[in-house]
């Protein structure tokens, strides 16, 4: 069934598909047709390109991590600074593409799920720009730990709905968005945020994220850089597939996906779906590798980064992993935090916690490859959004003092008024 030349492949080997209740069949069939048509429409593509330039701020830079490379004494490390895109992560490439598609389809409303909140923030910003009302479903647990992102979404005019079902995190937000869409699809577009879910979402998200890999090809050619390896973190897989896809044909380049190793290998302590951790299953409309118990119930996950603690992986990456084209490794919470510090001190760049997992791996890969080689890491997001997590982890006492003073200040102000 898979045909690599088609923009909508649906199946990647045995992975992918459209395993949905009949009610979602028609909207997904419609979406596939509209997406294919839009991608052949020069006017649509021109609009998308212009907004990528003017609104998102593309192209994002490719930075030589000179100090870190020297310190390690291995391969040259380059960082694709995807986190410099508007709203702080790669998520906006896809949000903008699908937002324009929603508009083209005449949908008067957009819904989205979000975990860490980055996709929610990107969607809210795009909807503000395009003038489309927007509702974001977000697990109650994530609403609590990602308050700054909730604040931004609301500032952009989006309605943030806390999800109280199941584990109250990203997967439950996806469930809730699917439930909304099952009755609202006639006037609503579901703007899914990663390269997962029922077809055509994995194909669509890959196409909109592939701008990352295409820019990389141009930037490396211009500067005479020949990559030997590429490293990206993998939650659902959108930044990784967008970074890898345009270069997949270049077999000489090693591609490495990094999953959340969390705090250990016990159930509920990590989000390692590849490398033997996951099982083949069908969840949320697609067939892929999921963290499931022997009955097929979805298991709990953990990661210090809210964006990587999703129990499934996008079907195309699962396929690329199974076929050996993409290697999978894991980075623990601690390794990610350590890498965060290394790149902040050495390069003046603060990685998002998700991206710091790729950062941890690139330090290992650079050493392993040795001098004269080149490795490129995708910094899918910048770390500003994580300050409430990283500061708590890295400098607990100072942060606690600061928070207490903030509370006192707010209380004093309340008393005055």
């Amino acid at each position: 069934m898979s045909d690599p030349d088609r923009i909508v492949q649906s199946f990647f080997g045995d992975f992918g598909g459209r395993y949905v209740a009949e009610v979602l069949r028609a909207p997904l069939d419609e979406l596939e047709v509209e997406f294919i048509t839009a991608m052949q429409d020069q006017e649509f593509l021109r609009l998308y390109r212009n907004l990528l330039r003017d609104f998102v701020g593309r192209p994002t830079p490719l930075l030589y991590a000179e100090n870190t490379s020297r310190e390690i004494g291995g391969a040259d490390i380059y960082i694709k600074l995807e986190g410099l895109a508007a709203t702080g992560a790669h998520k906006i490439n896809n949000a903008l593409g699908q937002g324009l598609l929603a508009k083209r389809m005449g949908k008067g409303r957009v819904i989205a799920e979000t975990g860490a909140g980055q996709h929610g923030v990107a969607t809210a910003a795009v909807c503000a720009k395009l003038g489309i009302p927007c509702r974001v479903y977000m697990g109650e647990v994530d609403v609590r730990r990602q308050r700054p992102n909730v604040f931004s979404m609301e500032l952009y005019g989006a309605e943030v709905v806390p999800v109280k079902t199941g584990s109250k995190t990203l997967k439950d937000a996806v469930n809730e968005a699917l439930r909304d869409w099952a009755s609202s699809f006639q006037d609503t577009h579901y703007l899914l945020g990663s390269a997962l879910g029922p077809s055509p979402f994995p194909d669509m998200v890959r196409e909109f994220q592939s701008v990352i890999g295409r820019e990389l090809i141009e930037q490396t050619q211009e500067r005479g850089i020949v990559p030997d390896a590429m490293v990206a973190c993998v939650g659902g897989g959108s930044n990784a597939i967008g970074f890898f896809a345009p270069l997949l044909e270049r077999r000489e380049i090693r591609m490495i996906g990094v999953e959340a190793g969390g705090r250990g290998s016990a159930t509920g302590d990590h989000a390692v779906r590849m490398e033997g951790g996951g099982r083949l299953g069908i969840v949320q409309g697609y067939k892929s590798m999921f963290l499931l118990d022997s009955d097929g119930q979805v298991q709990d996950t953990h990661s210090v980064s809210a964006g990587l603690d999703y129990p499934g992986i996008g079907p195309q990456l699962a396929y690329l992993g199974a076929s050996g084209r993409v290697e999978f490794t894991r980075a623990s919470d601690q390794e990610a935090l350590d890498a965060l510090r290394v790149f902040a001190r050495n390069e003046g760049v603060i990685f998002a916690l998700e991206s710091a997992h790729a950062g941890a791996q690139v330090l290992k890969t650079a050493k392993e490859l040795g001098p004269g080689k080149t490795v490129i890491v995708n910094m899918s997001g910048r770390g500003d959004k994580d300050i409430f997590i990283t500061a708590k982890e890295l400098t607990p006492q100072t942060w606690k003092d600061f928070m207490q003073r903030e509370v006192q200040e707010i209380e004093a102000k309340e008393k005055q008024s």
Binding site: V23, A182, G281, I282, V283
Partner: protein, 245 residues
């Protein structure tokens, strides 16, 4: 006569109460018991059933125990249909799931996220095991899609009376009834549900369906019961009214 298909969830709110609930439905004379095997991520279900599934899993539901539950009820009157999601079927293996369901005494399965043409071999496996698969359609299902579904010759078709998820009340009017008649022309027996709560709604369906399906409304009665005995009493009353409608 309009048959009644009553939906319930084993181990909700706990094992003994769910057994009493089943006994009440059987004693009330329902024609079908739709037994939902809870899944952690039931995307086609609304808040009532979603919450009940979460509770049932916390109460120790497992697929093995689900089949034991079915076995305990089989042969006591109603036809038993197991409703669940793809993940549970795939994890056990489609063939083995169907064999175990048949061995437990079920006569059919409903798996909304394994629709015709994305069924992972469910139709073949079910046929081999002597089970019937009940496809679910909605009013927005196109004629082309309906013909494709009719092409697998289902004995029953489950018609969701509106788009969306289970739980909220459905207004029955000329449009949904026309939809039921359209589905009926495939030759399959029509079971209709989603938002059916009252005997009056069941009466409206008369002549358009083989059976009416009641789900969330019964789950709500079960969830309000103070004890297994109280559950039996209250559910028996509600179910009898629906059966007699």
């Amino acid at each position: 006569m309009t048959h009644l298909m009553a939906h319930m969830i084993p181990y909700f709110p706990d094992y003994p109460t769910s057994l009493e609930a089943a006994r009440a439905l059987i004693d009330a004379g329902v024609s079908f018991l739709e037994i939902q095997f809870p899944f952690s991520d039931p995307t086609a279900d609304g808040p009532t059933i979603e919450a009940a599934c979460t509770t049932a899993l916390a109460q120790g539901f497992s697929v093995d125990r689900g089949f034991e539950f079915v076995k305990a009820l089989a042969g006591r009157g109603p036809e038993i249909v197991i409703m669940t999601y793809a993940s549970l079927v795939i994890s056990r293996g489609v063939d083995r799931f169907c064999r175990d369901a048949a061995a437990a005494g079920a006569s059919g399965v409903i798996v909304p996220d394994l629709p015709v043409d994305s069924d992972e071999g469910l139709w073949n496996a079910a046929e081999k095991a002597g089970l019937t698969v009940i496809p679910v359609i909605v009013p927005t299902t196109s004629e082309e899609r309906l013909q494709k579904i009719a092409g697998v010759n289902p004995r029953y078709i489950y018609c969701a009376l509106r788009t969306g998820i289970t739980g909220t009340r459905t207004e029955l009017g000329a449009e949904n009834l026309a939809f039921l008649d359209r589905a009926g022309r495939t030759g399959a027996k029509i079971l209709a549900g989603f938002g059916i709560q009252s005997p009056e709604q069941v009466r409206t369906l008369k002549g358009h369906v083989h059976g009416a399906i009641v789900g969330s409304a019964l789950v709500r009665v079960i969830s309000q019961a103070a004890s297994p005995e109280a559950c039996y009493e209250s559910l028996l009353g509600v179910a009898q009214e629906l059966v007699r409608a």
